[in-house]
């Protein structure tokens, strides 16, 4: 993607091509981020779509203040998830048929679906902050510095959350496996 700052500035001036590039760059990442945060791939579709429509409506309010555009975009996604979880009393469980993983044959795909479901289910045992770190680090490939930027925390705090998050994930995955 070309220089993000100039791209965003063009998008703020209603340049459709620039906005389309931003959309293509971030769509999958935001989708994965939301899926891991809420553990439901179908609900994540609607939320992802809404994130980009909200971004379209509010991009003119985005100001460059030393923070990357992605931090702002993920903040919108985060708020969308918070809003969703607040409205939803009960967390929905998976949707086997709707998980799609890239490049697998049917058997591999079925096995991978199980793996993905396990991780999604285990992620529900994490605290909100832990899940945020794990989502950003492992689905959106953010560095610790970027995660710290998005979450407004120190890098040390993010590393600690990363550690405790992986431990909690490990524990939840072990429990799930034992139950099976």
């Amino acid at each position: 993607m070309q220089d993000e700052e100039s791209l965003v500035r063009r998008a703020q001036k209603h340049d459709q091509e620039a906005f389309a590039q931003i959309y293509e760059e971030y769509f999958d990442k935001i989708y994965r981020y939301i899926t891991l945060k809420i553990g439901d791939a179908v609900e994540a579709e609607d939320l992802t779509q809404q994130v980009f429509l909200n971004t379209l409506r509010s991009i003119s309010s985005f100001k460059w203040r030393g923070k990357p555009f992605s931090a702002w975009l993920y903040r919108i996604a985060h708020n969308q998830v918070v809003d969703y979880l607040r409205k939803k009393k009960k967390v929905t469980v998976p949707l086997e048929e709707n998980l799609v993983s890239a490049g697998d044959n049917p058997q591999q795909s079925a096995e991978r679906k199980l793996d993905i479901e396990r991780v999604l289910a285990a992620a529900r045992h994490l605290t909100g902050a832990q899940r945020e770190v794990i989502s950003l680090r492992f689905t959106s490939e953010f560095s610790i510095a970027q995660v710290a930027e998005v979450m407004g925390k120190s890098q040390g705090a993010v590393k600690a959350l990363q550690h405790s998050g992986i431990v909690a994930l490990r524990r939840a995955l072990t429990v799930t496996q034992n139950e099976e």
């Binding site: 590039q21 959309y23 779509q49 980009f52 379209l56 993983s101 793996d115």
Partner: protein, 300 residues
């Protein structure tokens, strides 16, 4: 303090493992004292990373892209219009009567957002034809035609994501026809002289519109209907402001050309191998056609 040190080591290993592509063994060799504690955590991190292979479903991706591009255009236009906002009253009434006769009001509305794999798609084509025919002015027809071109591109993207190369080929021919028509319309020739496209009755495939409304249809949600800013019809009530209208059309076409090029190329990157050939042809037709339309607009 010890925890903080371990947090740093864990993060270092994660960077090596997940970003730099080192193996688990290589990572553990660097920190033999912490290896026992690190190993299960790194394995868990790898499992979490696997979850990142989740991809949005192709049909959802196509629908979302379509809706987003519609919203984008709406935002660029800066104002909303009703679907019939540009249409003279008499023509609105006539068109409504006709489309009701052809397909039933609810069906027509539902068909507007339908895709080629839907039963309602033939109604959509018939409705487009009626609207094109009833649009009174040359410039209005051109604007409508530009919208139809945009629709065909969206449909191509949708069918490519579904892996249907035959439909992509078919839609590419329709796209080509509409781009040719658009060149004729913006070139100043009389609409009726455009090779049998406007005044002809609906084509064979569009002529079977008596499909009852159905809730089982696979058409996208009403949210995927054409963006309200563009509306349907596009009839100019006067010749005044013709130059401004022309400039607006040029902006619209240039903008559509750019965003559709981005969209089709993005689809091409992710589409199944079996449709890539058809999709490349569609992309070539789209790019060449848009160039021709823009050249015609500049010349006239």
């Amino acid at each position: 303090m010890k925890n903080k040190e371990f947090d740093n080591i864990l993060d270092e290993c994660l960077e090596r493992l997940l970003v730099k592509g080192e193996s688990l063994e290589q990572c553990l060799e660097r920190y033999p004292e912490q290896a026992a504690e690190l190993k299960p955590l790194l394995e868990t991190a790898l499992a979490a990373r696997e979850a990142s292979a989740i991809q949005p479903r192709p049909d959802f991706r196509a629908r979302a892209r379509y809706q987003f591009h519609s919203a984008l255009k709406e935002a660029a236009a800066g104002k909303g219009r009703t679907s019939w906002g540009w249409f003279p009253r008499w023509a609105t009434v006539m068109a409504i009567v006709l489309v009701l006769v052809l397909g039933g009001g609810g069906t027509v509305v539902a068909a507007d957002g339908s895709m080629p794999d839907s039963l309602l798609y033939s109604v959509k084509l018939a409705t487009e034809q009626v609207r094109l025919t009833l649009t009174p002015s040359q410039m209005g027809k051109a604007r409508l035609c530009a919208q139809l071109v945009d629709r065909r591109v969206t449909e191509i993207a949708y069918m490519a994501n579904n892996g249907d190369s035959q439909q992509v080929e078919m839609l590419t021919r329709r796209l080509d026809d509409k781009l040719d028509l658009l060149v004729v319309l913006v070139g100043g020739e009389e609409a009726a002289s455009a090779p049998g496209m406007l005044m002809a009755p609906p084509t064979e495939e569009a002529a079977a519109p008596t499909v009852p409304p159905t809730t089982e249809d696979s058409s996208p949600s009403p949210a995927l209907a054409p963006s309200p800013d563009k509306g349907w019809g596009g009839g100019d009530s006067a010749q005044n402001g013709q130059n401004g209208t022309r400039a607006q059309l040029m902006d619209t076409v240039a903008s559509d050309a750019a965003s559709n090029r981005v969209a089709l190329r993005a689809v091409l990157d992710e589409a199944p191998e079996s449709v890539k050939g058809a999709l490349r042809r569609a992309l070539a037709v789209s790019e060449a056609g848009y160039d021709e339309v823009l050249a015609a607009l500049e010349q006239s």
